[in-house]
């Protein structure tokens, strides 16, 4: 494996720049059309126009640095998972252990922590479950990307609006409206590793404003055999055979009429576990994990007057987890054990948005959630033995208030505060302040301050199979400071520079109990991340686009000063959408460089640069759309850090230090629109 080998980004960079140059050259060749100014009015109204891309003003005035990935971006780039989307976001890297994907935001995010400090929202409602707080961003994420209107990512603390888990950032996935789909589509896909996908979507809107959206998809990838040098022995030769399989099916429905929206989703994913995690027998075909998300929501929105909007909603969300852990060799003793978790929460919320007071935009809201089922269990199958069975239901309530205050033409002060009560973690109050100053029209300066918290989850408090419970855990806390300068001269060009510092305390980590020597979660860690993020985007008039971002950052443990695992110090991202190649073909290229990272075991994985390409073509009057992508075009060999759980049942356990990632992979999708 190519560990400890730092590659200069320059070689890949020069390739990426070559791609960009090609795009620009193509743009320069764009033709001038006929003189539109001479056309009569009726003809102008019948002329088909190419919608201009604009960088929304809201992004500039938001009290943070927001990144928005639209449905059109998802289509042109061929994205299939939320991980694909998040990897294009400035400051974000995502690692993969062949089971789950782990986000690292501005240098923060352990491999193996299940994104507990990243809040994932579907249409504004929390997806993170209440047992593990898991933020689903891989194939277990239950919404098909074809049904997404846009993904908004806000780095930094969001607890002043969203409460617990909005710690390093918030990902809000907003689904499409039924009218946006205009009929039915059927898509089939083929992927490297013999993966197959089928998707069916239907959307329709009536002139009266009633809209219906339906989606169903199924994916099945047998995966490839994987080699793990750490597990190389006479029995298995280190090869996990047929254990990288990944299967899911998903359903989605949304009906809206006159300000009332009802929606429901279901997603179930089964993933083979090739890494023998948590002391399993390596290469046993039975190891797997199942993640199942289901949710439903009913909301009501009404513009009561020009200055008052009211919103109310109820929702229910369920998460089920099941994993099969094979800890003994086949034929010996216990067959296997099963680990399960069930999370069921229902909630109600209301919100009022008022601009009645001149110069102010006020948002006030309240939420109540009852987590009636919050259960974990672990049992051996034959002979049956119950190792763990804990139920810890809880309740949460919150009130919040935000004000966007305009002080004259050039100053906006955005303040917010939210008070959360958690029947387990107690009460906490989190403020946020953003000061925005617009200088002479084109340059704005922002200063941001905020705090956030994460209530310890059921697993950290009560899981006692291997370690001692600690129900008295306090919430983790973070404070962040950020300064942003933005240059935004036209609707098509924007550049920002940001300096940030994140300070965390009371972070949960495993410690050894001095009395009985067992492992126990404790509020012992503190860490901080400091860095600079630069970003620019240019939407060209010929329909092409060019975006880039660079991060230089450092994340350290405050207790011992150590460089945090999985934390890259430099990131570079460049992506370009070429101008339309004629009427029917679009091309996209993306380059991502991640510098070397420390592994959890104290080793290092080398830096790497990856280039992805995607082509989208339409045929037969846009009734057929073909999308072809090559990921990791130059077959760059790179690895992500493994986490503490990646050890097998040998004595002493064999631990994985790094997990090799995919080489070049292909994806082909064909869609027919009826």
């Amino acid at each position: 494996m190519l560990l400890n080998k730092e590659t200069s980004p320059s070689r890949h960079l020069s390739r990426a720049l070559g791609l960009l140059a090609a795009g620009l050259q193509a743009g320069a060749l764009a033709q001038q059309g006929p003189d539109l100014n001479a056309l009569p009015l009726e003809q102008l109204l019948n002329l088909e126009v190419v919608t201009a891309s604009k960088i929304p003003q809201k992004i500039s005035e938001a009290p943070s640095s927001v990144t928005v990935i639209t449905a059109e971006d998802i289509r042109l780039r061929g994205y299939r998972t939320l991980t694909d989307v998040l990897q294009s976001v400035p400051g974000m890297t995502v690692s993969y252990d062949r089971n789950y994907n782990y986000a690292n935001i501005r240098g923060l995010g352990n491999p193996g922590d299940l994104n507990t400090r990243l809040l994932i929202l579907i249409d504004g409602r929390r997806l993170n479950d209440v047992v593990y707080d898991q933020g689903a961003i891989g194939t277990e994420f239950p919404i098909d990307l074809a049904l997404i209107d846009r993904v908004e990512f806000v780095p930094g603390p969001g607890s002043a609006i969203y409460g617990s888990s909005a710690f390093f950032g918030v990902v809000n996935v907003i689904t499409k409206s039924g009218a946006a789909l205009k009929g039915q589509t059927i898509t089939v896909g083929r992927f490297t590793g013999r993966g197959r996908e089928v998707r069916n979507t239907y959307g329709r809107g009536t002139p009266g404003g009633t809209e219906l959206l339906l989606g169903a998809s199924a994916y099945d990838s047998p995966g490839r055999d994987l080699y793990f040098p750490e597990f190389d022995d006479a029995a298995s030769h280190g090869i996990a055979r047929g254990l990288d399989y990944d299967r899911y099916h998903r359903l989605f429905a949304k009906l809206s009429t006159g300000g009332i929206v009802a929606e429901a989703y279901f997603g179930s994913r089964t993933k083979g576990i090739p890494t023998a995690s948590y002391g399993q027998q390596f290469n046993d075909p039975r190891s797997l994990s199942l993640d199942e998300y289901a949710g439903a929501a009913l909301s009501w929105h009404r513009a009561v007057s020009d200055t008052l909007d009211l919103f109310a909603g109820v929702s229910v969300a369920r998460y089920r987890y099941r994993s099969i852990n094979v800890t003994e060799p086949a034929g010996a003793g216990t067959t296997y054990s099963v680990d399960t978790a069930t999370s069921l929460g229902s909630g109600a919320e209301m919100r009022a948005i008022s601009s009645a007071l001149p110069g102010h935009k006020l948002i006030a809201g309240a939420e109540y959630t009852r987590d009636s089922k919050r259960q974990m269990s672990n049992y051996d199958v034959a002979p049956y033995r119950l190792n763990l069975d804990v139920a810890a239901p809880k309740r949460q309530a919150a009130v919040y208030l935000q004000d966007e205050m305009r002080l004259g033409p050039s100053v906006i002060v955005n303040t917010g505060v939210r008070h959360d009560y958690d029947s387990e973690g107690g009460a906490t109050t989190n403020p946020r302040v953003a000061l925005l100053y617009k200088t002479t029209g084109q340059v704005s300066l922002k200063a941001l301050y905020g705090t956030a918290f994460r209530s310890a989850n059921a697993y950290e408090r009560y899981y006692t199979f291997d370690f001692r419970a600690n129900p008295a855990l306090r919430s983790e806390r973070i404070k962040t400071y950020e300064l942003i300068a933005e240059y935004f001269p036209t609707d098509r060009f924007r550049a920002t520079a940001s300096v940030f510092q994140y300070r965390m305390r009371d972070m949960l980590a495993l410690a050894t109990d001095p009395v009985n020597g067992m492992l126990v979660f404790s509020n012992i860690d503190a860490a901080r991340a400091t860095g600079i993020e630069l970003e620019a985007e240019w939407l060209r008039e010929d329909g092409g686009a060019l975006k880039g971002s660079a991060n230089v950052q450092s994340a350290r443990n405050d207790v011992d000063g150590a460089w945090l695992p999985n934390s890259p110090r430099r990131l570079l991202k460049l992506n370009t959408t070429l101008p339309p190649l004629g009427d029917h073909l679009r091309a996209y290229a993306e380059y991502r460089f991640t510098s070397r990272r420390r592994t959890v075991q104290g080793g290092e994985v080398g830096g790497f640069g990856v280039v992805d390409l995607n082509l989208v073509g339409t045929l037969a009057g846009s009734h057929v759309e073909l999308s072809a992508g090559v990921l990791n075009v130059f077959a760059r060999r790179y690895a992500d850090s493994a986490s503490e759980e990646h050890y097998d049942n040998s004595t002493p356990p064999r631990r994985l230090d790094a997990i090799r990632q995919d080489g070049r992979t292909l994806r082909l999708m064909a869609m027919v629109r009826f």
Partner: protein, 174 residues
């Protein structure tokens, strides 16, 4: 796994395609069409305070790119069109006959629309809901085509008259 040579072939294909494909015709750019639409509709309007020069102003971030420059000096009856970029709302109301309010000024739009009505200035915007907020002419994109809504009350208040030939093409009149 795909052989490396195939990947290189695909990559080269990507790079060479643009030039070849550009030869085909394209649909009109949104803002070129909107500029043409504004010019067209102004020809069917009677504006107060006109005298030789009609100043079309863009307030806020300019989305037109180079499209408005093609209108500079174009005839409007006996007058000529001139494009101006005022720095503030009050400055715009002093010198403009036609005021395009950019999306970047959306928050100030109701106030701007009110003072423009008092000053006899034709207001235009392409922010959703602008006509309802008192802007006289709102440009909208409806299934990739330009359409418009008209606020007749605001126009009457300003003394702006739009030909009935144009009005019957409006998607909505308030």
């Amino acid at each position: 796994m795909m052989p490396p040579s195939l990947a290189r072939f695909l990559l080269r294909g990507c790079l060479l395609l643009p030039a070849a494909a550009q030869a085909q015709a394209q649909a009109a750019d949104e803002y070129a069409a909107k500029a043409a639409f504004i010019y067209n509709i102004v020809q069917f309007s009677t504006l107060p305070n006109m005298n030789g020069v009609v100043r079309l102003c863009v307030l806020g971030r300019d989305p037109f790119g180079g499209a408005l420059a093609t209108l500079e000096g174009r005839p409007l009856g006996n007058a000529r069109l001139s494009i101006v970029y005022p720095r503030s709302g009050p400055e715009a109301l002093m010198q403009c006959h036609i005021l395009y309010i950019s999306a970047s000024e959306a928050d100030d739009m109701p106030a701007l629309a009110d003072s423009a009505r008092a000053a006899g200035v034709l207001t235009i915007a392409d922010t959703r809901g602008a006509a309802r907020k008192g802007v006289m002419l709102e440009l909208v994109l409806d299934d990739r085509r330009i359409a418009f809504e008209f606020n007749g009350a605001a126009a009457r208040g300003a003394g702006v008259v739009l030909s009935s030939k144009v009005l019957r093409l409006a998607r909505a009149i308030y």
